[in-house]
């Protein structure tokens, strides 16, 4: 029995409302199937438009085995390419970010234009057809200041995601921001544990003293129940929508993304120790009102976000191995905002720096315990962990579906 059969059987036998069996969190072979079935097929959050502000600006990322370049071309369009030279495969861009008129492979200086076409390859002989050796493109979409990529040969239609989240993001003008601070932490746990932890605030009271000054523990805020039956949330939506800000809870039909605007505690307007704004220049002058709370967006499997009036915090999840996950956090502020004048960096990043580190410990302890031979799946809280259950359901559903497709002889490539 190969690993795919084994996974399929375990998924079929899975007890609803319970955590997954141990190998889903630990087994390298399962991890490889996760990469193939989820990460190499879904739309992944790569970074922000504001990280490639000018033609020639690029950043790179690594998704499993795939190094990828995201670059803004001469016409201003954001494009993504496989970061592998068509000559002998070397990485063309080794820097995390930079600006370059052309993409030049450091090995033999094969030179690619910003649209991926090969424009120069030294002394390749008269029969060399440069047009056959452009950089391979990666599907790339920009929406509301977010850049998504898909490594799939035939990417899923991005249209429904765009239609859902664009109206919510548009008023925040995130394409015109700047990254005030960025951190990447490595959490020694499976990527699904990172997500499971994110998808509930059941753990917040005992672990996140800084975050809990401003962020509500109410299950309706973090979870996927919507929250319309909570009068405070309903009032918040009415308040925000009256300001022209789409706010009501929306979730994609297949559950891979959710967007909604949630109130913060009491008078808080930002994730600071005081609850007061961290940045005196709001993200955009178009939203002058206070108390718009936090817009919460998740998009499986790569990102969750908190978008406030004064800044936005975005999170990118990238698996490194079966028991290692990189989480990159970016604090976006108004492009004109000046550190030390319009914001104090320590104040801006304090709450989420602490919260991230607390979450890292939680995930690592979780992973420790799961590695125990004594581990067996446990039940989620029906009150608090609806969001976790929904995430695990999403994962199990697409995995079961894709493993079945893979098994179908009509779909199997000879």
């Amino acid at each position: 029995m190969d690993v795919q059969d084994e996974m399929r059987q375990r998924l079929a036998a899975r007890q609803q409302g319970f955590t997954l069996e141990q190998p889903f969190y630990t087994d390298p072979a399962y991890f490889d199937v996760d990469m193939k079935m989820v990460w190499y097929r879904e739309w992944l959050f790569a970074g922000h438009d504001c990280e490639v502000p000018r033609p020639g600006a690029f950043f790179t990322l690594q998704v499993g085995d795939y190094p990828v370049i995201v670059v803004r071309d001469r016409e201003g369009q954001i494009r993504a390419f496989h970061n592998s030279c068509r000559h002998r495969g070397s990485r063309v861009c080794s820097a995390a970010r930079g600006t370059s008129a052309r993409l030049v492979c450091p090995y033999h200086q094969w030179t690619y234009d910003l649209d991926g076409s090969l424009v120069f390859a030294r002394q390749m002989g008269p029969d060399f057809d440069a047009s056959a050796y452009g950089l391979k493109s990666v599907a790339c979409e920009s929406v509301g200041g977010y850049v998504f990529i898909s490594l799939a040969d035939t990417p899923a239609d991005f249209g429904p995601t765009r239609d859902m989240i664009e109206p919510y993001l548009a008023p925040h003008n995130l394409a015109d921001t700047k990254v005030a601070h960025e951190t990447t932490i490595i959490e020694k746990g499976n990527w699904k544990l990172v997500w499971e932890n994110n998808r509930e605030c059941y753990h917040c009271a005992g672990n996140h003293p800084e975050l809990c000054k401003t962020y509500p523990e109410a299950p309706g805020v973090t979870g996927v129940s919507g929250g319309a039956d909570d009068p405070e949330i309903a009032a918040h939506w009415a308040h925000c929508e009256a300001l022209g800000l789409p706010s009501a809870f929306r979730m994609a039909d297949d559950g891979h993304s959710r967007i909604t605007r949630m109130p913060l505690l009491r008078d808080a307007v930002s994730y600071t120790m005081s609850g007061r704004p961290a940045v005196s220049k709001p993200l955009t002058d178009a939203i002058a009102a206070d108390h718009i709370g936090a817009m919460l967006l998740f998009h499986y499997p790569t990102n969750w976000n908190h978008i406030l009036g004064d800044h936005a915090i975005t999170f990118r999840v990238l698996p490194i191995g079966p028991q290692e996950t990189a989480v990159t956090t970016k604090w976006l502020v108004n492009r004109e905002a000046v550190e030390g004048v319009d914001y104090d960096l320590d104040e801006l990043i304090h709450v989420w720096t602490e919260t991230n580190d607390q979450d890292r410990q939680i995930v690592e302890e979780n992973a420790f315990g799961i590695r125990s031979p004594a581990y067996e799946p446990g039940p989620y809280s029906s009150d608090h962990e609806g969001g976790v259950d929904q995430f695990v359901d999403w994962y199990c559903r697409i995995m079961a579906l894709r493993l079945t497709e893979e098994d179908s002889p009509t779909l199997r490539v000879a």
Binding site: G56, V104, P126
Partner: protein, 373 residues
């Protein structure tokens, strides 16, 4: 003497469609003939040593590696031959007393001798700017790319409307004059004009004399405004032409000039020397050099007129990494200050330029320059 049977032994005669194009890193060039064109001007013709043919655009150039001393020198010459006669190529060069590479060729290059060459390359060709009517304007040996294009038109599109003007100091210095007159007798659309600076004392001259100005231009080519202009000659000449055309309201989109600021080019002594001939005495450049300081290496160098920063660096032992040498890949990006003219091909961003960077391969000092290399 070279004979047809000198082809590599055992290799049968090949038809064009059976032959591979010349490959500059596999095959050298073999000189097949040398002829005098005008005082101090010779044409050198080459074939490949391996039964290949030459694929190029009329107007392109080759770079020859000439074994002048211990270190070979690289010299770039536009081709005077036409790609419609693809079995050989020719260059036509003018040598002055102070030229090095061209002087070496004049004294040493004879039929049967082989030299290494790179190319053909360059974007100065009517291929890239098709038009109904052309105006080929040249001075001195700047006639060579024009001759290549005209010979190509004669072979392939002989009814083309071309106004061909060459400026020279004296009538006997007009290169290809008799061939041009022959072509004019067979190409109904070719109108020929020569402008000489000095009226000769010992022969009659019926053409205009003096330096090119708007009056003479209108006289030689009344409808120049409606033509696609290709211009080649010493830099002061081309600069004067640009000023003239701009002043006349000419659409500069229709103007193209041979620029030795791009390409894998070492300076062309013929061009430098010729410039000092004084086609336009008031604007003749000094053959004098421009100081270039390489700050990281602590080297004080001198750039010859037309020599790029990269060439100057190489000549003085300063290493700047470079790959395409066409202003395209950006490998030779360096910080530099001082009066610099750069003709890049998209290999550098405006922001980099604003930050004081240049591409060394396609940047020429226009005065004292300091380079971080």
């Amino acid at each position: 003497m070279l004979k047809i049977t000198d082809a590599p032994t055992g290799s049968p005669y090949l038809h064009l469609d059976e032959m591979q194009p010349w490959n500059d890193h596999l095959q050298t060039l073999e000189c097949v003939w040398v002829t005098d064109e005008a005082p101090g001007v010779k044409t050198f013709a080459f074939r490949s040593d391996n039964q290949t043919w030459f694929r190029y655009k009329p107007g392109q150039f080759v770079t020859l590696e000439l074994p002048v001393g211990e270190e070979p020198v690289m010299r770039t010459y536009t081709l005077s031959s036409s790609p419609s006669r693809p079995f050989s190529i020719s260059i036509t060069a003018k040598a002055q007393a102070d030229s090095i590479g061209t002087r070496w060729m004049f004294e040493n290059l004879v039929p049967g001798m082989r030299v290494k060459a790179y190319g053909p390359a360059g974007g100065f060709s009517l291929y890239d700017h098709p038009a109904g009517r052309y105006f080929f304007l040249s001075a001195g040996s700047g006639i060579t790319p024009m001759m290549s294009m005209l010979r190509w038109l004669y072979d392939c599109a002989p009814m083309t409307d071309v106004s061909f003007v060459n400026c020279a100091r004296r009538p006997d210095e007009i290169i290809f004059r008799s061939e041009l007159e022959l072509l004019a007798s067979r190409m109904p659309g070719l109108s020929l004009g020569f402008l000489v600076e000095e009226r000769p004392r010992t022969q009659s001259w019926f053409g205009p004399t003096g330096r090119l100005d708007l009056t003479r231009l209108a006289l030689l080519v009344p409808d120049f405004a409606d033509r696609e202009v290709f211009c080649c000659g010493p830099e002061p000449f081309m600069r004067a032409v640009r000023v003239l055309l701009e002043a006349s309201g000419f659409d500069m989109q229709q103007y193209h000039q041979e620029s030795f600021g791009t390409g894998p080019i070492e300076p062309v002594p013929a061009e430098i020397a010729e410039a000092s001939d004084g086609l336009l005495p008031s604007e003749a450049p000094e053959v004098a050099t421009t100081p270039v300081t390489f700050t990281l290496s602590g080297v004080e160098a001198e750039a010859y007129s037309g020599q790029s920063i990269l060439q100057t660096a190489r000549a003085s032992g300063v290493r700047i990494p470079a790959a395409c040498e066409l202003g395209l890949c950006g490998t030779c990006k360096v910080k530099a200050s001082g009066p610099i003219e750069m003709n890049h091909n998209g290999g550098i961003l405006d922001d980099d330029i604003a930050d004081g960077y240049v591409l060394a391969c396609c940047s020429t000092p226009r005065g004292p320059v300091s380079v971080e290399a």
